[in-house]
Amino acid sequence: MFQRFCVYLRSIIRLPMLIPYKIVDYISEYKPEWTCVMPVGCPPEDVLVPSEHPFFRLAKQANTYTPDDFKSYAESDPNRNWGQMLPFAVGLSLVESEAKARRNLKLPMFRGYKGILNMLAL
């Protein structure tokens, strides 16, 4: 009911928002295809589905992106036993604030990164 209200609201005022969904409802409505084999518990039972919502992700190049920018830790190190951390290792982080993304560029792990991808989730 709440999701339908959010979709209705979105049709009237196109505001960026995150709509709470149960993953089973989301799968039955949108029939997504995962890009890798998902471990148990991933995605979680409760998810937030973006609508017209901007996200930012760090990129290795300043003005373009490559598949490496979207490679999870599980993909980059497939032989490692991630144990209980596997659901996190297959995930990728997106941040909602450009300022936070630019701040993260100052961390040691992102020294080689030069850009920020601005993505709009429809």
Binding site: L48, L58, S72, Y73, D77, R80, G83, Q84, M85, F88, A89, G91, L92, S93, V95, E96, S97, A99, K100, R103, N104, L105, K106, L107, P108, M109, R111
Partner: protein, 160 residues
């Protein structure tokens, strides 16, 4: 070599980037991820007092300064994280390379913690002296904590 216990994740991006930890004596460590090795993640850790840690969380301390100007000698550690175990080995200041350090200008923004949908929320009831209410409300604001009943509580304190 000493074993640490993870206490909080301050910055998460794909994996925990900045964490806090304590050792068996209760000493606090501020740890920043700098490498991924085959046997685990490597963090640069620094022993840090609670006031200085609060200054960092409050956005008043540059992360780089926490490592370049520690409060005591021999405060730096290389921390290896494997299978949820945090093992800290002392490291000399002269052994630190630029690649292990954050760039100048990383100031933590506590409001980001409030945006973390997975953040665990505990509820505490505090008795704050009336003369500390401004300091306390400033702290609440800096930490990005939700305090909807704060104004009501302070009016009650003022009335007392």
């Amino acid at each position: 070599m000493r074993q640490l216990t993870h206490t909080a994740t301050l910055e998460y991006y794909d994996v925990p980037q900045i964490i806090t930890a304590t050792d068996a004596t209760g000493t606090r460590y501020l740890c920043t991820l700098y490498a991924q090795e085959t046997d685990g993640f490597r963090y640069l850790g620094v022993q840090i007092s609670e006031p200085r840690l609060m200054a960092f969380i409050g956005g008043q301390l540059d992360l780089r300064d926490a490592y370049l100007h520690p409060e005591v000698d021999n405060a730096l550690y290389c921390i290896c994280v494997t299978d949820s175990q945090l093992i800290a080995d002392p490291i000399l200041t002269t052994d630190i390379t630029e690649a292990m350090l954050p760039e100048v200008g990383y100031f933590f923004n506590a409001a980001d913690l409030a945006e973390d949908v997975d953040a665990q929320i505990d509820t505490y009831k505090l008795e704050v002296p009336a003369h500390d209410r401004i300091t306390f409300s400033t702290l609440i604001s800096r930490m990005g904590w939700h305090a909807s009943s704060l104004g009501k509580s302070f009016r009650k304190i003022a009335a007392l």
